[in-house]
């Protein structure tokens, strides 16, 4: 029971980290970045390549993955999303889907569709308390998630850049008038979101060590629902949504049905949205006529 709970929190932490990327980008650019799941996959491959081919130790290869994904995120934003800043949200959505196809197929060409066995990056022994065994990956994931949560909260409340980000997500026009560089802020958001995606990719692949070009797709969709679950645009909401989703998924798998676990996760999401249409921690926006 307790081990399920910890596994749930661990999986949920990964979802939470991915969901942060979705929610930050949504908050600031008001777009659903469907390519986010594929950035996770690229992060996983980068860490895989640097350890398996170049023989780098764990920490430099994770940093390398973060660097590549950050740069990738900024490039994607500049090339594909920036020209569409004033276009309809559907146009941006389709472009994001195009980027997602592009990344998946580029990965397919470079690394082929054969699943790669992800190297074990966490070299600690598993924690054993009584008759419960907790995998070291789960512990590292949870710790990483807590650190990211604290750093991100400090960043958005204390630093100038973080405050600028919140200002832009509140009101783009007013932020610009206050002398905030909106474009730089949006790029920064994409950079942070993609860097987080790289971390999530490494953690995800450490927990489920098969790497394929489609690895990021399903966690991406689930993390996206997690972001909505918690109230899209809200950073604590993404955290809460991600962790709850992970716990629900693990418990559904353990006690109800493995095959139907995804259906149960989505059903819970639907019930939450019907009861509280803006998600758990979402702000209610009153409509004006």
């Amino acid at each position: 029971m307790l081990s399920y709970f910890i596994n749930g929190i661990s999986l949920g932490s990964v979802y939470a980290i991915i969901a942060l990327g979705y929610t930050m980008v949504y908050g600031i650019a008001k777009m659903l970045n469907f390519a986010h799941g594929d950035v996770i996959m690229i992060g996983g491959y980068m860490a895989f390549c640097s350890t398996a081919y170049l023989g780098w130790p764990a920490i430099p290869s994770v940093l390398f993955a973060i660097l590549v994904c950050t740069v990738l995120g900024v490039i994607i934003e500049k090339l594909a999303y920036k020209p569409l800043r004033d276009a309809s949200s559907l146009a941006v959505l389709i472009t994001a889907i195009g980027v997602s196809y592009f990344l998946q197929n580029a990965a397919l060409l470079i690394w082929s569709s054969n699943p790669k066995a992800f190297p074990n990056m966490v070299k600690f022994p598993n924690l054993v308390i009584g008759d419960i065994q907790i995998s070291s990956v789960a512990i590292v994931t949870i710790i990483a998630c807590i650190i990211i949560m604290i750093v991100l909260t400090l960043f958005t409340t204390k630093t100038k850049m973080g405050k600028a980000m919140r200002a832009v997500s509140e009101d783009k026009g007013a932020a610009q008038l206050m002398g905030i560089n909106v474009n730089a802020t949006i790029s920064m958001t994409f950079a942070i979101g993609s860097g987080l995606a790289a971390i999530a990719g490494v953690l995800l692949c450490s927990a489920y060590p098969t790497l394929m070009p489609t690895t990021g797709a399903m966690p991406g969709i689930k993390a996206f629902t997690a972001a909505v679950f918690g109230g899209i645009g809200s950073i604590p909401g993404a955290m809460l949504g991600g962790i709850l989703l992970g716990i629900i998924e693990i418990f559904a798998k353990a006690y109800i049905s493995t095959q139907l676990s995804d259906a149960i996760v989505f059903a819970v999401l639907i019930i939450v949205l019907i009861v509280k249409p803006t998600g758990l921690l979402g702000k209610k926006i009153s409509e004006k006529v």
Binding site: L84, L90, I94, I97, N105, Q259, L269, I270, E287
Partner: protein, 357 residues
Amino acid sequence: MDNIKRKYSKKTISSFINYGIVIAFFLVLQILSVTGHLGSSMKGQLIPICSYIIMALSLNLVVGISGELSLGHAGFMSVGAFSGVVAASSLADAVPNGIIRLLIALMVGALFAGLAGMVIGIPVLRLQGDYLAIVTLAFGEIIKNVLNCLYVGADSKGLHFSLKDQQSLHMESSGKVILSGPMGALGITKLSTFFIGIVLIILVLFYIQNFVNSRPGRAIAAIRDNRIAAEACGIPVTKYKLMAFVTSAAMAGAAGALYALNYSTVVPKKFDFNTSILVLVFVVLGGIGNLRGSIIAATVLTILPELLREFQDYRMLVYAVVLILVMLITNNEKAMEYLRKTIKKLLKSKSEGRHTT
């Protein structure tokens, strides 16, 4: 010409052009395939193109005319496909005529998908924008997941259902399994024909074009343009939204049945999130709310991967780049202006060339 213009409104003429395009498409392909100019891979694409066109048209009813983003349209296609297959397979002895069986399957598919649309639509349509999108996505995934576990068998006593495995169907030894969970439907008799597909497209087109100009259609457009104002005018918002959603789901169900009965096996995984997105791409690239655009985009984008065969492994990459570029160019004023000018120039130089010779 002036007479025609006076007699029929612009909209009617535009509708007739749409029927014309579909019929011309049918005739051209039929002639090509009879004379043997059509490759076997293209021939195999004909019925999928028909069902994708219907999918795009039906999604356009939700996205374009009702203005709601739905990301789970493949779920309805899936419901239609599998209920259609179950109907067609279980009626194999009772209704020997293939065409009639196909028509029954299409109707059963539409009925069940419409019911699914109603079950989903009643709670969901209270949400708006991105929240509605995510809930439809979630429902699409739930439908896929449940169908992935669904076993259906038929024997002399009737249909048997189970969510566990084949054994728990408790069938007579003579019974046959129609759906077997993740393996999907096996041994389907191919019933779909290109002609029926085209007829179905025309019916759907006829329905949507008339629906848009009807009282409910105008009400739905009013809700899309300004929900609060429409509500204030006494339009029952939920009723009309649900009407568009259920109709669209039923059409997608018919498209699904048409699609499934073209293959010998169909798996539930086929109708996943990517299929929903594919159809949404048809609608957006064709122009939201533009039916003709949907038809053309669905056709071109289904054939495009086939045409890109010479790029081999790169074809999906090229597809992605084309998709991004088209979105960037069509949303860029300057690029569109430049494009219009060059096309005008090209046309001019051609006509001038004709004058001098």
